[in-house]
């Protein structure tokens, strides 16, 4: 339970963080709320040689109206997102799901940007962002760029972030009264999702995304197509396993996860359509 030795640097600004990452190379990791990285370090599944602490960059903690979208600063905590009036009004699925992550202690320290960058396929927020077609704003050595959520997560703990990149902002669309639902199956309130399903009903269609059904958050394209061609939610949910590779571990078998994915997909679609 004691991490390997590491050096510690405090970033004074986003650009300073980027230059510190450049200085220390690939073994450096950014530290935000620390509620995913530090547990991994304590069991030595992660052993970065340098931690670059961005926790004091207060200007990356905000929820702002961006016109056609809501801009969420990467260092916004889950608790701040959960209780944001702006998100509650314009993108309630994100406010709701931020309140489903971990427990209150975790939500007061863990950040929205941290869970996005950490790229754990059992995390709830990336799934919701994928269903929302959110946009991620990244600061790197060559300046700022945007990455669509569909291109952001690549695998377990792998994302489009390069070794010298800092995620600065998450942009989510204003839903304008669109229906939404997030189904999280977890034996205990504080647990990671065994399986999670996000559904957003807007623009005449329903987008569906899955938590912990593969090595990254997944869009359930086959389900979306079935719905578009008139299938009812139960029939559409039968298509949910296409492209998935559910984990098989002590918490649940892959067979059970596959069953849950169908049940939760049906419920999420029905919930989104009736909300």
């Amino acid at each position: 339970m004691i991490p390997a030795a590491f050096d510690y640097e405090v970033a004074e600004s986003a650009d300073h963080a980027v230059s510190l990452l450049g200085e220390h190379g690939e073994d450096a990791k950014l530290l935000a709320g620390g509620h995913s990285l530090l547990p991994l370090m304590r069991v030595r599944l992660a052993a970065p040689s340098v931690l670059v602490d961005i926790g004091r960059l207060g200007d990356l903690s905000y929820v702002r109206d961006g016109g056609d979208h809501v801009a969420v600063g990467a260092l916004t905590t889950m608790e701040e997102a959960h209780f944001s009036d702006l998100l509650e009004r314009e993108c309630p699925i994100l406010a709701h799901t931020a309140g489903e992550v971990g427990d209150p202690q975790v939500r007061h320290r863990g950040t929205v940007g941290g869970t996005v960058a950490h790229a754990d396929p059992a995390s709830d927020i990336p799934t919701v962002l994928l269903a929302l077609d959110a946009t991620l704003v990244v600061r790197g050595p060559d300046g700022e760029r945007t990455v669509p959520a569909s291109d952001f997560w690549l695998g377990i703990f792998e994302s489009a972030l390069g070794p010298q990149d800092l995620l600065t902002e998450i942009r989510v669309p204003k839903l304008g009264g669109a229906g939404w639902n997030y189904q999280k199956f977890h034996p205990r309130a504080q647990d990671w999702a065994i399986v999670g399903v996000a559904a957003v009903a807007r623009n005449g269609g329903v987008s569906v995304a899955l938590t912990n059904m593969g090595e990254k958050p997944l869009r359930a394209g086959a389900v979306e197509q079935a719905l578009a061609s008139g299938s009812d939610p139960a029939a559409a949910a039968e298509q949910v396993l296409e492209g998935t590779s559910a984990p098989n571990d002590a918490l649940a078998s892959s067979e059970y996860r596959e069953h849950l994915a169908k049940v939760l997909t049906r419920r999420a679609i029905e919930g989104a359509r009736s909300s």
Binding site: K184, P187, R188, Q190, A252, Y256, H259, L260, V263, R267
Partner: protein
């Protein structure tokens, strides 16, 4: 009903126990007015200090805050056979009560001497020794503890200081009893169980502190629910423990547990002078069968005959699949029984 209050020494001898079943305690009245109790039992969260302080406070006319309970260090608590089998109160607590009574009997001799009356002219009223018919003439135990420590004016043949010890070897076990009833609802689509209602009515004899008793019941029931539905040590085929941390070994939190409806009947034990029985084991004994019977009662409606602990959501889902695949349920819900479970097909969002 459980056989509790592990004692008596003679019987334990016939059962081939190496040790006996007595408990020892001492009660020391310090010149400051505070009282120090040394107990041979060891607390690990049951509220012994609270309960034992109340016993001594009642016996000696002081407040519980004036009583300090020492335990768990053999250089202080030299004699004791420890806390197990719900014996801390019915053996150890009674030894403390006996020691406190001995202190009070010595205090009576001192009070009579100082008040210059015969012992039989004193009455123990409102936590002090009063001269009958003259309540203004009275001595408290702390006052007598100071004069016994100063020892300037002791009665003939009485030693200084006010303290006593006592051993209690109960003549029999105690027999606390109770009934626990659990109502569960199972989501047939996911297999997850929600406890809708949990009622526990227990009889632990004389109750010293109702909050401590309720706390013991609630904590024990929580552990029992955990055993029935959550906690499991899972090993892989190589014998490696797969549930070796708190994220995989599922200890439930308050968020997963129901509110409890608690009731009491009070039937004082006849096997000790305080009438106490013990309450610490009811939850872990009663809750696992109550919860599992409720789960089984719900699952029999879909043809499941047996399910092992813990009844996790996946395990319930599997047995329901098996039962429905092999033999569709043909038994209608029967009348009678406990009525302690319900299963509502199509219930939504129970676990989400």
């Amino acid at each position: 009903m459980e056989v509790c209050g592990w004692a008596p020494s003679q019987v334990l001898g016939t059962l081939q126990y190496a040790g006996g079943g007595w408990e020892r305690a001492s009660v020391r009245c310090n010149p400051t007015g505070k009282v120090t109790v040394v107990a041979g039992t060891s607390p690990h969260g049951q509220g012994h200090s609270t309960t034992f302080s109340q016993i001594v406070a009642d016996d000696l006319g002081v407040t519980p805050d004036d009583v300090e309970v020492l335990a768990g260090d053999t250089s202080i608590a030299t004699w004791g056979l420890d806390s197990y089998g719900s014996r801390s109160l019915s053996a150890g607590g009674v030894a403390i009560h006996k020691a406190a009574e001995r202190v009070r009997e010595k205090a009576r001799i001192l009070a009579a001497h100082e008040l210059e009356v015969a012992e039989e002219d004193l009455e123990w009223t409102d936590g002090k020794f009063q001269v009958k018919g003259a309540p203004d003439r009275a001595k408290t135990v702390p006052e007598l503890a100071f004069s016994a420590w100063a020892a300037h004016n002791m009665p003939e043949g009485v030693d200084p200081v006010l303290e006593a010890s006592a051993v209690f070897d109960p003549p029999n076990w105690t027999y606390p009893s109770g009934t626990h009833i659990c109502v569960v609802e199972i989501d047939p689509d996911t297999g997850s169980t929600r406890i809708d209602r949990y009622v526990a009515v227990d009889d632990c004899g004389t109750i010293i502190n109702p909050m401590v008793v309720d706390g013991q019941v609630m904590g024990g029931v929580a552990q029992g629910i955990a055993e029935a539905l959550y906690e499991e040590a899972i090993y892989d085929e190589n014998g490696t423990l797969l549930t070796g941390n708190m994220s995989t070994y599922r200890v439930p939190s308050a968020a997963e547990l129901p509110g409890y409806t608690l009731g009491k009947t009070v039937t004082p034990s006849s096997t000790n002078p305080m009438g106490v029985k013990g309450i610490g084991e009811t939850g872990t004994i009663a809750a696992p069968p109550a919860v599992m019977n409720a789960v089984a009662d719900a699952l029999r409606f879909v043809g499941v005959e047996f399910i092992d602990k813990p009844a996790s959501a996946e395990k319930i889902w599997r047995v329901v699949q098996q039962a429905q695949g092999q033999a569709p349920p043909d038994r209608a819900p029967e009348g009678g029984g406990t009525g302690a479970a319900s299963m509502t097909p199509g219930v939504e969002g129970g676990a989400a």
